[in-house]
């Protein structure tokens, strides 16, 4: 669906290379010593083609919002690079950055926190136009945006608290749309909304995409919504990308054990093959990630390979697998990608919680 006007090999709109974001953990009041770091995003490499929707899924705390903020240049990367439309924007500032801001916008998760309670809708949606000195009748432009996002233009002078959650999210979308961006990062745009309203916001986003040739990075922990909107889907675990593939390939033939577990956790009614892979243990702390493959303390596939619930293969425990192609357009970061016949459910059931705990302790000691 993307129309590449430049011709030749389609250059991606966004190309992220080895992006790292660590938040320092400090102690002490006057002399702040750094005693560690939260590894929020580690070695993230991906690209987003023009006009596509890249879904990004993962559990809470795996670094999705940090990725969104990095893309929108709201936090400074610790390392790595972000190219947008062929231009390196990793460390841009000042006027050059203002130019990029017009092209990259973000829709936030919380429609309550992301709107200033003391500003009217007109002020909120008009702010980007004002800041960038866009010519024209501002009131008309704002009301036009309100109409496009399904808001009543007569509510121009109302305040956010007078709107429902869904309508507030429409205000957030109208604001993101005001500068006619090419990329919109949607950080869990529907997670805070009622289920019935989620559907309306999702279809608003898809309609706007068609109308304005938008590219989306669509972040969610809801695999169903991501499946609905995405062309390709990326899966994150503990700050790292573990699998990236076309939507159908990812949902139907996941190759990374973690992806398979996530997908199996989506309730699916009464089909024959619908037992869950129940992972033992919790997601380890991103301040102290495990050695080797970050998933190894909980990984059922590693136990299938070793044949012993208490043992993982040497390379899983010590070496970080990199994202490698397992099929055309399908990459996974795993030493032993899933093959048909792997019984992860049984392997996971065979793992006692103590085993996982011990493995975690060993890996992070």
């Amino acid at each position: 669906m993307s129309t590449d006007t430049r011709g030749g090999a389609a250059e991606p709109l966004v190309a992220v290379q080895d992006l790292v974001k660590r938040f320092p953990i400090t102690r002490g009041i006057i002399l702040q010593r750094q005693i560690g770091a939260v590894h929020a995003v580690e070695d993230l490499t991906l690209h987003i083609a023009r006009g596509e929707t890249l879904g990004l899924v993962g559990e809470s705390g795996c670094g999705k919002s940090t990725t969104a903020r990095l893309m929108a240049r709201l936090v400074e990367p610790t390392a790595g690079s972000i190219r947008f439309d062929g231009e390196d924007i990793t460390h841009l500032s000042g006027r050059a950055m203002q130019h990029v801001r017009r092209k990259v916008q973000i829709v936030f998760q919380d429609p309550y926190a992301s709107l200033n309670p003391r500003q009217s809708v007109g002020q909120i949606i008009g702010a980007p136009l004002r800041i960038h000195g866009i010519e024209g009748d501002r009131r008309r432009q704002v009301q036009d945006l309100m109409e496009q996002t399904g808001l009543n233009p007569e509510h121009y002078n109302r305040y956010p608290h007078e709107f429902s959650g869904g309508q507030r999210q429409r205000i957030g979308i109208a604001r993101a749309l005001a500068l006619r961006p090419s990329l919109i990062v949607c950080d869990e745009p529907v997670s805070a909304l009622d289920v019935s309203i989620q559907a309306q916001i999702v279809s608003l986003l898809t309609d706007l995409q068609k109308e304005h040739d938008l590219t989306y990075l669509f972040i969610s922990h809801d695999l169903g919504v991501v499946r609905h909107v995405s062309d390709r889907v990326a899966v994150m675990y503990l700050g790292r990308l573990v699998e990236l593939a076309d939507r159908d390939a990812l949902y139907e033939r996941p190759r990374h054990p973690y992806t398979a577990a996530l997908i199996s956790a989506v309730p699916q009614g009464t089909g024959a093959n619908r037992r869950r892979i129940v992972l033992q243990g919790d997601v380890p702390s991103p301040a102290n990630p495990p050695s080797g493959c970050p998933f190894h303390p909980r990984c059922p596939k590693a136990r299938i390979i070793s044949g012993d619930p208490a043992v993982v293969p040497e390379n899983c425990a010590t070496e970080m697998p990199s994202l490698t192609a397992v099929a055309p357009g399908h990459t996974a970061a795993c030493w032993y990608p899933l093959v048909p016949g792997d019984d992860l459910i049984a392997a996971a059931e065979g793992m006692a919680p103590e085993v996982v705990e011990q493995a975690e302790e060993a890996a992070t000691a």
């Binding site: 007078e162 019935s196 559907a199 309306q200 939507r247």
Partner: protein, 354 residues
């Protein structure tokens, strides 16, 4: 987007009609059927406004709550009357025919003691034979001017410094916060006495004549000592406001630091500032009274409540009116501003526990 928009189809390999956890939610089917644009959300789920009730702006809500607060309304009326009294002071002097600094021989007896209230001197006279009522009316001017102007200056300084300290953090924050701490830890009355005596003892003033004695000096001293309260409150509020998502949203559309500080954060501080300022006014009125009581405030020719109370202190056992009337005015004024401040706080932030 993908070509076929058939969300969670029944033939989904993930399984039958229960393809999605939300299949049974009544609204879920809306994914394929809901009108996308121009649609109000279905009523009954999340109505935008309560039907039949006019949407209220924050300002209207505030007015509604404030009007219900009897004490605060009474205080507001009292303060309004004080303002009228301050403006009408020359009028009262004209009607009674008593100038505030005019000495009336007939109002002191042979021992030099003043005479009490009578038909022409309603509040009696002071030891020099001046009309207490007229002087109280003029004193209202001093109290209100000092209270309001000194507070305004303190608020402007305090808000600006508090915003910078809270928003920028780092070395600027350290500098501003420590300065505020130092000012707050100074023995304020002693220090004020020092400045006022140094600058107020001679007509030339101090700092090469830059600071002259009088009302202006009193205002400057009081403002100098009250901005740190404002700065600290504002800084604390900014620290939490700047982490709010709408600040990040504003940055994402390209807003700079100044825009964020003054357009995004400042409007959220208005209620804090109003409440705090209304509580600072009575404090500063009292402060002026202390200074005047000590003979360090405005010059004797300008009537001031503090000065009048001070003058009364030697003879109040025989001339009770000298102490009583200015005392009552001072008490009621301070009380009214405090009650008004409390009322404003309740009306602006009904959730705040007290």
């Amino acid at each position: 987007m993908t070509g076929h928009i058939r969300p969670f189809p029944p033939d989904d390999p993930r399984g039958g009609p229960h393809a999605h956890p939300c299949t049974h939610e009544p609204g879920r089917t809306a994914l394929t059927t809901a009108p996308v644009t121009g649609g109000e959300e279905p009523i009954g789920i999340e109505p935008a406004t309560v039907p039949g009730v006019q949407a209220r702006t924050p300002w209207q809500l505030f007015l509604m709550r404030f009007r219900r607060d009897r004490l605060a309304m009474a205080s507001l009326v009292f303060i309004g009357l004080l303002v009228v009294l301050a403006f009408a002071a020359p009028l009262i002097a004209g009607i009674s025919g008593h100038d505030p600094n005019q000495l009336f021989r007939q109002m002191t007896d042979d021992f030099g003691l003043p005479k009490g209230p009578n038909g022409s001197f309603w509040f009696g006279a002071d030891a020099s034979g001046r009309d207490v009522l007229v002087r109280i009316a003029y004193g209202t001017r001093v109290s209100l001017i000092v209270g309001v102007v000194a507070t305004s200056v303190a608020v402007v300084i305090g808000v600006t410094l508090g915003l910078i300290a809270g928003y920028r953090g780092g070395i600027l924050d350290t500098l501003i916060s420590r300065t505020a701490d130092i000012v707050l830890s100074l023995p304020l009355l002693l220090f004020a006495i020092g400045i006022v005596t140094a600058c107020g003892s001679s007509r030339e003033g101090c700092f090469g004549g830059a600071v002259k004695p009088g009302l202006m000096l009193v205002i400057i001293v009081i403002a100098l000592f009250s901005w740190p309260y404002v700065a600290k409150i504002v800084r604390g509020a900014v620290l939490s406001l700047r982490e709010r998502e709408f600040v990040e949203a504003s940055r994402s559309v390209g807003a700079g630091d100044l825009t964020i500080m003054f357009r995004e954060i400042l409007p959220n501080l208005i209620s804090v500032i109003i409440v705090y300022a209304s509580l600072l006014v009575p404090q500063n009125i009292l402060f002026e009274a202390y200074l005047s009581f000590l003979g360090l405030g405005v010059p004797d020719s300008t009537p001031s409540w503090g000065r009048m109370i001070s003058d009364a202190s030697g003879i109040f056992d025989v001339a009770w009116w000298l102490m009583l009337f200015p005392g009552i005015f001072l008490l009621l004024t301070v009380l009214a501003f405090n009650l008004l401040g409390d009322g404003l706080r309740d009306a602006l932030d009904p959730k705040a526990d007290r």
